[in-house]
């Protein structure tokens, strides 16, 4: 079975005063029909750049090489005129700030109708019926009223539902969600995550879900790719990754996920900051922040299969997998939990 989206050996460089600075390095990722794949990493790890590469919306000074196949069609050498037929009609995208993504001076209805009419020529009545159907499908109460309202009448969660409706308005089979719940309350975040999962199950659309929150991703995604400094450092089915994380970075990210059973225990984060593009350390890019780094880590690391369907980019992965390190926690003084 061929993947719905297959990114292979994607390299993206940004031109900085004549120097090509790599921001994505040899990234490969596959998403099957109806599959939700999560991409997790810190700010600046290249998550959004990957999404923009799929949409061919990279900044002008960026150059992408490799291959991005959407249902077997190569997107990287598609001319802009044909790419327009892909955006919206075949790939929909939602962003972090739903309120900012909507135009405040137009009604929700007119913006949704514009999205519907962008790729189809429907009569007024048909387009309106389609708009109502879309709003119902994303679980927005009182769709008739919403069409007449302006974005400021809607809450952040409602705006994100409208954005998802717009992204799917023209029948896109791939949804790219770039931190779609970051600015929302946890209760609303939960609703949006359920909505995305329902859409994937009911209509079989594929989803690339980008987030810095491993907890959130594990709630939603079938598979997870952990990215660090432009490289995938570990990838596998969600459960495998959670139960036996191999890369020290994945392990560290897991420690940062809230644990409501341990009230009063402050978990250490990851010391230091991710390297900036253009000043990457030689060898393993995580080495300066890694508690397990040895001399062997000074050589460039390869993303290699460690178990069935489980890849990691760490020379010590299997050696460290055996001994699960207790999370370095930090008990608050005077509090026995």
């Amino acid at each position: 079975m061929t993947a719905h989206l297959a990114i292979s050996n994607l390299h993206v460089t940004l031109d900085r005063q004549g120097v090509a600075v790599p921001v994505i390095d040899d990234l490969s990722l596959e998403i099957q029909e109806g599959e939700i794949v999560g991409m997790v990493g810190e700010s600046g790890s290249g998550k959004t750049m990957t999404a923009l590469a799929v949409m061919q919306l990279l900044p002008r000074r960026a150059r992408a090489t490799g291959s991005i196949l959407l249902a077997g069609q190569e997107l990287l050498d598609l001319p802009e005129s044909e790419m327009r037929q892909v955006r919206g009609a075949r790939v929909g995208m939602v962003f972090q700030e739903p309120v900012a993504a909507l135009n405040p001076v137009f009604t929700v209805g007119s913006q949704l109708l514009a999205a519907i009419n962008a790729h189809k020529d429907l009569s007024r009545g048909d387009a309106r019926a389609r708009a109502l159907e879309l709003l119902q499908n994303v679980g927005l109460p009182e769709p008739e009223l919403r069409l007449r309202q302006y974005p400021h009448h809607l809450s952040g969660g409602m705006c994100q539902r409208v954005m998802i409706a717009m992204a799917l308005a023209s029948g896109a089979r791939l949804l790219i969600a770039d931190e779609p719940t970051t600015s929302l309350d946890v209760t609303i975040q939960d609703e949006i995550v359920r909505l995305i999962r329902r859409l994937a199950v009911e209509s079989g659309i594929s989803v690339l879900f980008i987030s810095h929150d491993l907890g959130l991703v594990s709630r939603l995604c079938h598979r997870v790719a952990v990215v660090y400094a432009g490289q995938v450092v570990e990838t596998g089915p969600t459960r495998t990754l959670l139960e036996s994380p191999l890369h020290p970075y994945t392990q560290a990210l897991l420690r940062c996920v809230p644990n409501l059973h341990e009230v009063g225990v402050v978990h250490r984060g990851i010391p230091g900051t991710p390297p900036l593009p253009g000043s990457l350390p030689p060898g393993c890019r995580f080495r300066p922040r890694c508690e397990f780094a040895t001399d062997a880590c000074q050589a460039p690391q390869l993303l290699e299969p460690m178990a069935e369907d489980h890849l990691a980019r760490c020379v010590r992965a299997l050696e460290l997998a055996g001994r699960r390190t207790p999370a370095p926690t930090y008990q608050r003084q005077g509090e026995a939990s």
């Binding site: 939960d190 809230p258 003084q333």
Partner: protein, 349 residues
């Protein structure tokens, strides 16, 4: 009725102090009584963002205010700093009333209250060097520039930044480093109470936890008390010693963090905590999934403000407003609080 007058019988056999003890307020550093924060008081449609809230922040503790956007938690923080209009009620810091002061923000600063905001980018002047920003609160008290600069450098070291950061500008710093700078600035006037208004919410998880460790160390070293405003339950579980849960301008549950987080009594607290993504791998179904979204502060529902969303709501909830009372070692405002635990167990089995 204030949130600190329990109607039920407080259980005396608890280890330590009950929230009712705290209500006596002898050792509370910050006392808030029947606070109502109203925006547009003279307009046709005043919005009561906070209604009759009473809270105590005891010295050396960390009280976390949690709730969705629109719950009023930030309005309380702003009212304490003198930045939000107080319609009625009192805010007392160390025995001094802050609501009657002529210049409320100045009074708050003089009584030892400082605040750290969510966005460290907009909180720092981009044209100023880091040390100048940190030393700004010292302008009135320390005349010599060299001494101000030296004090700023010491503060930077205390928040884990090298002295060399003092001469840099905000754009040369990462988000976590900027937040360390705003924390250093908050510490400059030697405060007693630091309000952390979503102070770690904008940071990456890995960086966030490093800041939490720093805040906890500073709390001990400097003898600080925190009022933590956050929608990030992970940060709350790690930092808070006490929790107050807010919904549409009112406190619905308050007590010791471990008790409230482990065994919520109010259906809203349960729903809020169950929405937090953990790494269980599956979507955990909260027993009390709320319906719809938070209501409109300008038009709060009658009876219990949460009843339109509450799956446990009965007729009484729509007509009679529940009062704060003692249930299972914490204060909560819910007619059915005694049943939540058994309903939950029933739903699981």
């Amino acid at each position: 009725m204030s949130s600190t007058s329990p109607v039920g019988t407080p259980r005396a056999e608890l280890d330590g102090r009950t929230p009712a003890d705290a209500a006596a307020g002898q050792d509370s550093l910050l006392r808030i009584r029947d606070l109502t924060v109203t925006y547009g008081l003279r307009s046709r449609q005043p919005v009561r963002a906070v209604v009759g809230v009473s809270l105590d922040v005891r010295a050396g503790r960390t009280l976390a205010l949690i709730g969705e956007s629109g719950s009023g938690k930030s309005s309380i923080a702003r009212a304490v700093c003198g930045l939000a209009p107080v319609e009625s009620g009192s805010i007392t810091m160390d025995g001094h009333d802050l609501t009657m002061a002529e210049d409320r923000p100045v009074a708050a600063g003089q009584r030892g209250i400082q605040i750290v905001f969510q966005d460290p980018v907009s909180a720092l002047d981009p044209r100023w060097s880091v040390w100048r920003s940190v030393a700004e609160p010292l302008m009135r008290h320390v005349e010599a520039v060299d001494e101000r600069r030296e004090r700023a450098m010491v503060l930077l070291e205390r928040v884990g930044l090298d002295r060399s950061f003092g001469d840099r500008h905000p754009h040369q710093l990462s988000g976590g480093q900027r937040q360390r700078v705003t924390i250093a600035r908050a510490l400059a006037p030697a405060p007693k109470l630091v309000i952390l208004d979503e102070a770690v919410s904008a940071l990456d998880v890995s960086v966030r936890n490093e800041i939490l460790v720093l805040l906890d160390e500073l709390k001990r070293q400097e003898g600080l008390t925190y009022l933590l405003i956050s929608h990030d339950m992970g940060a709350v579980a790690q930092m808070a010693t006490d929790v107050a849960v807010m919904y549409l301008g009112k406190v619905v549950e308050s007590g010791e963090a471990a008790r409230v987080i482990r065994q919520p009594a109010h259906p809203y607290t349960d729903a809020l905590l169950a929405s937090v993504p953990t790494v269980s791998g599956d979507i955990v179904d909260p027993t009390f999934r709320p319906r719809g979204e938070i209501g409109d502060t300008a038009h709060p529902p009658a009876g219990c403000r949460y009843h339109p969303r509450c799956p446990l709501a009965i007729e009484r909830c729509a007509s009679e407003e529940p009062l704060m009372r003692m249930v299972r070692d914490r204060l909560t405002a819910c007619h059915r609080a005694e049943e939540t635990e058994s309903v939950k167990l029933g739903a699981r089995s």
